[in-house]
Chain length 297, copies 4
């Protein structure tokens, strides 16, 4: 198969490298060219424009947000116009449920296939080929993509035949992670103000009921107040809670925890926190409680 | 050592059995006598009144709430009056930070020792000797208690020298668990209304980022709407969130997630949910969203 | 001046009638024709298409939501294309801050003027010419519109020269009203469950600190559980809180009360409440508390 | 009637002066003597101890909180022991529903009468005899107290025969006021960040839908950031929300707005705000939004 890959950010670079490593005929495209060189050094071809992906059978997109995906796919001379009938667009970006539904419709109208395949995992997991993929689309198309998914991730979950459901599941997963961050932030603020060392406290938690990397990793970031450089930036986390709440609005589902997370991200941004990791919302309960957020207090 | 044990509920029975199994000279006391027989059958003695514990070196209490502990310890002819100087009261109940501080003071005034040692774990862990203990008190006293703690649990964390800090940590742990229940409840309500099967969704979550018994067990209770018989009753969970918020009030720590949990437990109780497991709050997001909570929908 | 008026709903009908009554040369347009007759009976002309408004100097729009305004103004053959350079579009609808900004830009590009003039008041106030107008736009243009505003309302507040600020103020006003509804709902649920008659309670409140129509009128709707027919429908209230939160998101302002209102409207809609007045969220605290919402309990 | 009055704070001084002015035989008691002189100068007698009130037919208490009332009434040599059978204790303090119920029971056991009569109004209203009284107790006893109530306030509402219901209503009233403060704070933060002057905004609100002293007065405090000296201190407001939530907990009524107010008062206290007026919570939304709270920004 001729494979195209659009979006060589920290996630996309790892994913594309694993496709290349699996012996695929890979052509990559990125807005800024310097991200392309490491992949061409491994044998991938470089597309100068989206038109260079016109002969691809399968094109992955891994972009930052709705705006970027909309421009690349639906814009003039966008992917939708380049792809041949029968080609597949695999959208791995964390985008809105509504845009994913719109893409599905647009590709169907163009006699192309569309699969949503957002992922769980941070850049280190992408680099290691250890992502989890949440795929939704026509079963026969997903069946054909299996070898590619296996190259990228450690496991693929087929969520539904309707593509946008994968995006809903992905957003709900990021909500669950953000809820872990906030709850750890609140618990740590409480015990710290009660005189307990927060590092010792985290060790206790993650040696007992919360013995899982998610709590260990985010707990350490919060306990260490180590929010830069960001692994996953606050604006991205904020965007995902926004998309979650928009989806919940459409589906008429009140989500009180998600509303609190929304306000945390807004306050963080309003107070200058946008350059930080999204786990920085985990320090806000301490701030509210009058605890100064020093690096190693 | 002569050991006393007061409170043979579902937790206390398992804990006392392990102390007995470890070869201690154990005398047990329970308000209702039928819970005593299994332990006397294993060789423990039965106290008829608290006065029968007067010669004990160490007395454990594992009772339901502040009211019960206050009555047993501080009431007329209570434990405080029975114990000899130098004896130790080990309080394992999940009680308020304020009562724990009051007990510490009362025992000190009576030349007795006091250690708070609340536990993480449900009745099956108590029966298996697999609890985690969170101990706080004088280090030398805790040192002497080590063999007893090792009989009861798989690991003991020494939290602080000031006893009530162990109670604060315990309450914060139950808060974190309740936050897991609520966040799972919200996420499941959302994806279910979006057309995803909640059992399949839980399988996805717990195979990936949330691969830990806490999420698996509570997630299954919520997905199955299986809230009776209660493993840990809703009124107990509600009590713990109430005690957490009271401690947070004293320490001046705003806890927005905890406030939401408070309202969930109030609504659950107001709508007849008190006979259920505390994980029943995990079905309330679905109720709010207009999803009928049927057994296997 | 030749005046056009688009949107003869319950609000627009009253407003247009007052313009006609003030001796203006009025042409009205409405999607469904039966709303037009009462105004033509008073002397107004009826436009068959938007093109019939091409010669108007000033055109008011009073439409349900962003979608309607976007279609009427920015759609093919929409108002933007019909109006002559120098004509003024006065937008009275409660629309998003973002759409208002977009309209300002579009009209400016067409050498037309744009004034946002959303109103406070329900249909009875519109019929009585007692609305309050919140106007924003170029001072000289607002100056020319004064006689028209005076015909429609009892007072006009000039909020800013940037039009979309009037929409922000309008949305904040509806938020404040919704907060009154929710707080009355909570207080009534509490005292009612405490054994106090809610009608007697409302009489007490509105005879003392809350002696103002807003509390009297909404309080009566809540106390009487009288939510149909709707004076201002729940979906409109929900829309306004949604627009408020979107504006707050752009401005980075966390609004915890608004988030709660959002969830109330979602729960109301999810449970079938869309045909009710927006004050129906004032009965939800009672529902949560297990009080059956009967008509005169 | 021989009248006693205990508690000459800013509220009690005005109330006692009006009783004295109405020609009653008044004896006053206050912990610190300097507050007594102005009243003895008008002809009141000064009690040195509570025993000096033993011959009173009616004794009012107007004290800061539960602790103070409990000590004065239920303490050794407290009012309960001093009063003769048939005497009436009129409790005007804002205390917990539970303490009011306990006082009712204690006085009944002592063959004394008890009426709860908390008030709406700030010190200026007390000084002007313009308070509103919320009375609950036996109708025949309240009937006898009417002339005294008329001396103190502009109107008395008889809430119930069960005394503690008056306390519930009083707490709910303070909740409604706090909700006004918070909602104004949120709305002002939003429009201010949107570029609207908050004083002009307040003028608009209180000239239209919110034309009532409550919104004018609290709105001005918030717009002016004028929180010292406190008219009603933040710790008192915090106490009332705490008592409200405790009552709501007993009655099983979830109150989401009240939970947010609780967190606001906690954050205010944690950040040093206790010396301020309780309306200082109305500036916290602006703080969260990154707006510096300067005196006249």
């Amino acid at each position: 198969m001729k494979i195209g890959f659009i979006g060589l950010g920290r996630m996309g670079t790892g994913m594309a490298a694993h496709l290349q490593g699996a012996g695929q005929d890979l052509t990559v495209f990125n807005r800024s060219a310097e991200r392309v060189a490491p992949l061409t050094a491994q044998g991938a071809k470089a597309a100068q424009t989206l038109a260079d992906l016109a002969h691809a059978t399968v094109v992955f997109t891994m972009l930052a947000d709705d705006r970027a995906v909309r421009e690349v796919v639906l814009g003039p001379d966008g992917l939708l116009r380049q792809l041949a009938p029968g080609a597949v667009h695999v959208s791995c970006s964390t985008i809105s449920v509504a845009l994913s539904a719109e893409l599905a419709q647009a590709h169907e109208a163009a006699a192309q296939d569309y699969v949503a395949a957002p992922v769980f995992g941070r850049p280190d997991a992408a680099a290691a080929g250890k992502l989890f993929l949440l795929a939704a689309g026509k079963p026969v198309v997903i069946g054909r993509l299996r070898p590619l998914f296996d190259a990228i991730g450690q496991r693929t979950f087929v969520v539904a035949t309707q593509a946008d459901k994968a995006n809903l599941v992905k957003l709900s997963g990021n909500f669950l992670i953000a809820a872990v961050i906030e709850s750890l932030g609140e618990a740590m603020a409480l015990v710290e103000k009660g005189g307990i060392d927060r590092h010792q406290y985290l060790e206790l938690l993650t040696s007992t009921l919360f013995d899982v990397p998610l709590y260990k990793n985010y707990g350490a970031l919060i306990a260490n107040r180590q929010f830069t450089p960001p692994g996953f930036g606050a604006p991205l986390g904020q965007k995902d809670i926004r998309l979650l709440l928009t989806a919940a609005d459409s589906l008429q589902v009140p989500l009180p925890f998600a509303s609190i997370l929304r306000d945390r991200f807004l306050a963080l941004a309003a107070q200058g926190g946008e350059p930080r990791d999204w786990s920085a919302i985990g320090a806000m309960a301490a701030l509210d409680a009058g605890l100064a957020p020093t690096a190693h207090s």
